[in-house]
């Protein structure tokens, strides 16, 4: 005889779901509109998506207000976990998405944006990411991960070029493998502890003193592989350059930011307790992975001939750099991760948007790829403002002060220093110097070379519309004047991270 299920709506705390539901509702609305009346202009969908994202953002802001007064809240059978990390990550996710979506308003028409489904999938994907970060239940993580991933594969494929299909297939297949890794890893921990909630897993493991350390490590290895795929850590990174190249530049920029922050938050939740429980193996492995990811991807970025592919490798390197925060595992490091990523999202979205703005509909003969270095030669002569902005983004990515990313690097290296990882701090610093070369290479092309083929500069702004320019302007402002925002950001982030217990 089952007793009737008696659950008070209070304890369900459905408000915790609000931020995720808003994009879902938005996506459904878009689909309904399309069914009712097809063939509407993309600007409608762009604005609608933006509207729902704004509402989402407000909802998160509301949640952050609650967090500040009440601390961490659980909801929906304790599956939802709204702590500082979740809120911060959602801010980044939704904020970056808001910066991304106006990029659809290009001057030239591109295939994907003519489908309303694109926007619906996009909103679904955001909801998936939000679920991923706002829980410590591995099931929900898995569901969120796959929801967003599947949507993302489709979005990439919608660019409708051979290369984008190839990229989608590669990404998809490897993603499926990673999903296998993730589920197997979850299974091992379930077998070991009888739970799929990270905090319970941690409690049980700590209670039995990591008796089955060998199996724990096997599980960790599977998880590391799964997160390694998502975070493009070497050797699980191989999809990244191809997918970035195949996807549209705006999508590539988006991919370098949002999926990774979601994965970082999950990784942080998962590895936090392991790192702190003194498992040397994990330290060693993470150390090696971080260093190899930073360094090797830098070396590969050096030899690229296409700017977008170079930026892809550079994104891998940045991910490795930030992964160090999880290795270090102090509050400062975790705060540094968020600070870094927020600043990175401005700069990186900005630079990818610049590429996007210069995307031609058809490839001219003298260009080997969409964004080859040659294309940017002598840009200062024909499009000085665009060249200056692009140069600014490159300097920021290289970590030249006082531009945005410098502060991220500063705080990140400082956390390595504070955490006692001196050698790591030095490696991080020197890697920034190596990275300087390839960012500089683009600056050299733009400022110090003559154009390969005479052009009036239109090629660099062929897609420019007010919307694109606004986004790039916001990114540029954010990059230049980051130093004003560092203090409030830092205080905000540190408070949230600290109060979440990380």
């Amino acid at each position: 005889m089952l007793s009737p299920i008696n659950i008070s709506m209070e304890s369900l705390n459905l408000m915790t779901l609000a931020p995720m539901l808003i994009p879902v509702v938005g996506a459904l609305l878009i689909l309904v509109i399309d069914i009712v009346k097809g063939g509407l202009h993309k600007s409608l969908y762009v604005v609608l998506s933006l509207l729902f994202l704004v509402m989402d953002f407000v909802a998160i802001a509301n949640a952050s207000g609650i967090f500040m007064t009440n601390g961490t809240t659980l909801g929906v059978f304790d599956v939802m976990l709204i702590d500082g990390l979740a809120i911060l990550a959602q801010f980044v996710i939704v904020g970056a998405s808001m910066l991304f979506i106006p990029l659809a308003m290009t001057h030239k028409r591109f295939h994907e944006f003519s489908y309303p489904e694109f926007f619906a999938l996009f909103l679904f994907m955001i909801a998936g990411f939000q679920f991923m970060v706002a829980t410590d239940n591995l099931i929900l993580v898995f569901v969120g991960l796959e929801t967003s991933s599947l949507a993302l594969y489709t979005l990439i494929a919608m660019h409708n070029r051979d290369k984008s299909f190839e990229a989608a297939v590669k990404y998809f297949t490897m993603g499926a493998l990673a999903a296998g890794f993730f589920s197997f890893g979850a299974m091992i921990f379930y077998a070991l502890t009888g739970s799929v909630e990270i905090n319970k897993i941690a409690l049980v493991l700590a209670a039995n003193g990591y008796a089955d350390i060998g199996f724990v490590l096997v599980g960790v290895a599977f998880f590391l592989a799964a997160f390694g795929f998502k975070l493009s850590l070497i050797p699980f990174h191989t999809w990244a350059p191809d997918v970035y190249e195949g996807a549209s530049a705006s999508m590539a920029g988006y991919m370098s930011i949002v999926p990774k922050i979601a994965a970082f938050v999950v990784a942080m939740r998962f590895f936090e307790f392991l790192v702190h429980s003194g498992i040397v193996w994990l330290d060693v492995v993470l150390y090696i992975v971080v260093v190899v990811t930073m360094t090797a991807s830098n070396m590969w970025a050096l030899v690229q001939t296409d700017v977008k592919r170079m930026l892809a490798y550079s994104s891998i390197s940045h991910a490795g750099f930030v992964m160090a925060a999880i290795l270090i595992g102090t509050t400062q490091a975790n705060s540094a991760l968020f600070l870094y990523w927020i600043l990175f999202s401005f700069t990186n979205l900005g630079s990818f948007s610049m590429l996007w703005m210069s995307r031609q509909k058809h490839l001219p003969d003298h260009q080997s790829s969409d964004h080859s270095y040659d294309k940017f030669a002598g840009m200062i002569k024909t499009a000085p403002v665009a060249a200056l902005i692009m140069g600014l983004f490159m300097l920021s990515l290289a970590g030249v002060p006082p531009f945005a990313l410098f502060w991220g690097k500063l705080y990140m290296i400082s956390s390595a220093v504070t955490g006692g990882y001196t050698i790591l701090a030095l490696i991080m610093a020197l890697n920034s110097a190596i990275a300087g070369y390839y960012y500089l290479k683009l600056i050299v092309y733009m400022f110090m070379k003559e154009p390969v083929v005479a052009n009036g500069g239109e090629v660099y702004v062929t897609n420019a519309t007010l919307a694109l320019k606004t986004i790039i302007g916001i990114a540029a402002m954010g990059t230049i004047f980051a130093f004003v925002a560092i203090n409030p950001l830092l205080e905000f982030i540190t408070a949230f991270v600290y109060n979440s217990g990380y």
């Binding site: 297939v169 590669k170 297949t173 490897m174 493998l177 990673a178 890794f181 350390i213 060998g214 199996f215 490590l217 096997v218 960790v220 290895a221 599977f222 590391l224 592989a225 390694g228 795929f229 070497i234 050797p235 699980f236 191989t238 999809w239 350059p241 191809d242 003194g278 040397v280 193996w281 330290d283 060693v284 492995v285 150390y287 090797a296 830098n298 070396m299 590969w300 970025a301 050096l302 030899v303 006692g420 050698i423 190596i434 070369y437």
Partner: protein
Amino acid sequence: MEKYLYIALFAPFVSSLFSALFTATPKKLFTGIIASLLIFTSLVSSTILLIYLFKGGEPIHVEMMTWMATGDLYIPFGFLVDQVSVTMMMVVTLVSTVVHVYAIGYMDHDKGFNRFFSWLSAFVFSMMILVMSDNYAGLFIGWEGVGLCSWGLIGFWFHKESASWAANEAFIMNRIADLGMLIGIFLIYWNTGTLQYDGAFAAFHTLDPTTLTWIGIFLFIGAMGKSAQFPLHTWLADAMEGPTPVSALIHAATMVTAGVYLVIRSNELYSLIPDVGLFIASLGTFVALFAASMALVNRDMKRIIAYSTLSQLGYMFAAAGLGAYWVALFHLMAHAFFKALLFLGAGNVMHAMHDELDPFKMGGLKKVMKWTWIMMTIASLALAGIFPFAGFFSKDTILEAAFADHHYVIYGVLLFTAGLTAFYSFRLVALIFHGEERYKLFGIHPHEAYRFMLVAMSPLLLFAIIAGVFQEPFFHMVEELLRAHEYHIHSHTTLWIMLLGTQIFVGLAILYAYKKYARSGIKVPDGTSATENSFIYKLLINQYYIPYFYEEYIIRPYRELSAVFWQKIDIKIVDATVDGIAGIIYSTGEKTRTMQSGNLSTMLKWMVVGLVVLLSLAVIFGVTVRYSDGAASALSGLGVM
């Protein structure tokens, strides 16, 4: 009196600046005249100061302004006119006045007339700073300043390769010595806390002998360069590339004696370290002989006089080293007069002979250049030390001093050198003015110099004749400052024998020179005679192969080593390392990028391989932890935690 001090000091400076205004314009006669007048003003002021001091006035010490002051270091622009410096001022201004006037004529046709006077006056100014400064740093200003002017004047005819080479050689050689001087100054500062003469001298008495010896040695190294003592002597002969008035003023009368002045100035130091003094005296004696020997065979009129200068500087150092500072100073003064005269005379001859320098190509010039002949003969007599000319009083006193101090070797060598001096001086006079008129073979029509040039030279002639008169008054003037004592050989008989003996020896040398070179039938040497092929002759004419040695074993290796440093070390090693590191990083990227083959199968394999590696690491670690506690600590020892 301070007024005169400043006039004496700055008149040459004004003169230099004034002439400098016209360096880029064609010849302006008035620059020469105004410069000469200003230098003359300086001479007058110096004379007033001399008279003041001679009458027993207190030394004048002024501090114009601070130069450098930091930490404990305090260096002012301070000037001191005492008995010693006023003597130098007199010598400098007198000779320079003469040379300035003379140069108006000598540089008559030169394009760089105005530039010449600017440099020349600048030199006088530097020299005045050198002698008047009241501290070692100020002395060093003048020291380097005269070096600079000497560079500019030796290389005055810079279109000549040899001239600019000689200028650089002189500057660099002097720099080598200046380093020694600089080190000496540092030592003085860190040991006494001051660079002022009075303060430093007072402190010297409290220092230990080792330190003093080092100070003495380093200061003397400085003096060696400026006074062209062995082994830094080669520049002086090469410096004869400069215009002759320059040689007269700088490389005979004034600048080269700065080294002697330094030793005399620092007499309080050197009297505390007699060992160093003896070394100085020995070196001076050696140089006296060494230089005189080279003068014996040389065939360049100006170089012969230059070697003679070198030789006489050796005398001065010998005196100063033996503690006979006033004798050295007196010889310095006397020498300045007759040697400048000799040079200016040589300048007349050069002018007459269209810059021909080989005396073998002259001969019989006394007919056309009577006054020059007289002047040069008297100057040579003075140089040889014949009574009653200036050289007799000064040089003989040096010999007496050496004898009285029982340094018989020094005495002997110096005496012998006196004979050599007489010989080569009159060899020169004989070759130029006597004998056949060989110049006719070369189609030259010599003429006497301008009258005003000869008049300008006359003060020097006068002093070359009568300077000896001033020996006693001079002695009394500087007595107090230089703690001088008159050198008296105890036995009058000895003294007389010495005096007479010296005179006879020197006289014989002169006669021999005349006999050998004033006769007819002298030929221009062509490298065939037996003498010219003898070992000694070759050794002497090649200056003991020292310039050759420098060229082969110092200059050339330096040049080659520089090239090696640049091309081998800097480019091939240091820079290549930097580029190599960058290259390694780049090529690693280039090589490993094939890992990204683009084939999905490979990409999947990488993922699986990554997982397998992680798993095997996990298994290995799990197993090790289970079976050994040691491994864990070893791992944590890697510095991960």
